[in-house]
């Protein structure tokens, strides 16, 4: 899981503009349904929660289930009223949290 999450969003936005944010994080998203060669069930290991905050205020979050594809791709929108920082976090079943930050400036 050493890969950095990939996030795509505009570097600057007009005040009040709704921007689109695309995120992709590398993760196996093991569903807990598959069996290995010995017939044993491969234990579940997924990202179960994704959250995005802007200047500390929640923007979008989602609870994920095993029915989410490997390397979860999540696209959503956010309204930008001020310059600031988007914080992203992906929470794993085992408790590790992958985080990332992106800054957005206001268009002059």
């Amino acid at each position: 899981m050493a890969d950095k999450p990939r996030i795509k969003l505009p570097k600057e936005a007009a005040k009040g503009e709704v921007i689109q944010i695309k995120t992709l994080v590398s993760h196996v998203m093991e569903s807990g349904q598959r069996k290995d060669a010995q017939g044993k069930t491969v234990p579940r290991k997924i990202i179960n929660k994704f959250a995005c905050e802007f200047n500390g205020k929640p923007v979008f979050s989602c609870a994920l289930e095993p029915a989410i594809s490997a390397n979860p791709y999540i696209q959503f929108d956010a309204k930008v009223d001020e310059a600031g920082t988007f914080k992203f976090s992906w929470t794993d079943d085992d408790g590790t949290v992958i985080t990332a930050e992106e800054k957005v400036a206001l268009k002059a």
Partner: protein, 150 residues
């Protein structure tokens, strides 16, 4: 014209059976605990149709990654916005797919994710608005290769 012999009659009959069975096969059945998920999310209230547009391929060649886009009509202001959207797949081993939570800061109640579908089935979305009203939409996706391993 030649009279139909026994063999041809069988073939014809078989064709009819196929025709009558086909629509049933396409009508995916609920095979998991989807009803429980809906009950928990809605609190027993029946959601109304509409407001949601759910975009999924009609036929998914690979059930491992099926693109899903959803958008819900809403002004997305502090007074009126979409709170939560639950997405369910009624033919997967587990019904739950994702629960999206929006805020007025989202600007638009729109999101795209990629989901796994084990077999041909219905994908159901239920949206909860900030005033507590509920809306639902569903789409059938035909899956040619399942996405749950095995």
């Amino acid at each position: 014209m030649k009279a139909i012999n026994r063999r041809q009659a069988f073939a014809l009959g078989g064709g009819f059976v196929m025709l009558t069975l086909m629509p049933m096969a396409a009508d995916a059945e609920v095979t998991n605990d989807a009803a429980k998920w809906i009950e928990k999310f809605t609190g027993g209230k029946a959601p109304a149709k509409g407001k949601i547009s759910l975009d999924l391929p009609e036929i998914a060649e690979n059930g491992n990654t099926v693109p899903l886009s959803i958008s819900i009509e809403s002004p997305m202001t502090a007074d009126s916005y979409v709170k939560d959207v639950m997405i369910l797949a009624d033919g997967n081993p587990n019904a739950g797919v994702a629960t999206l939570s929006f805020t007025p800061l989202s600007g638009k109640a729109e999101a795209s994710i990629r989901i796994r579908l084990a077999t041909t089935q219905n994908v159901v979305a239920i949206a909860k608005m900030s005033d507590g009203s509920l809306f639902t939409e569903q789409k059938t996706v035909k899956v040619t290769i399942g996405g749950c391993g095995g």
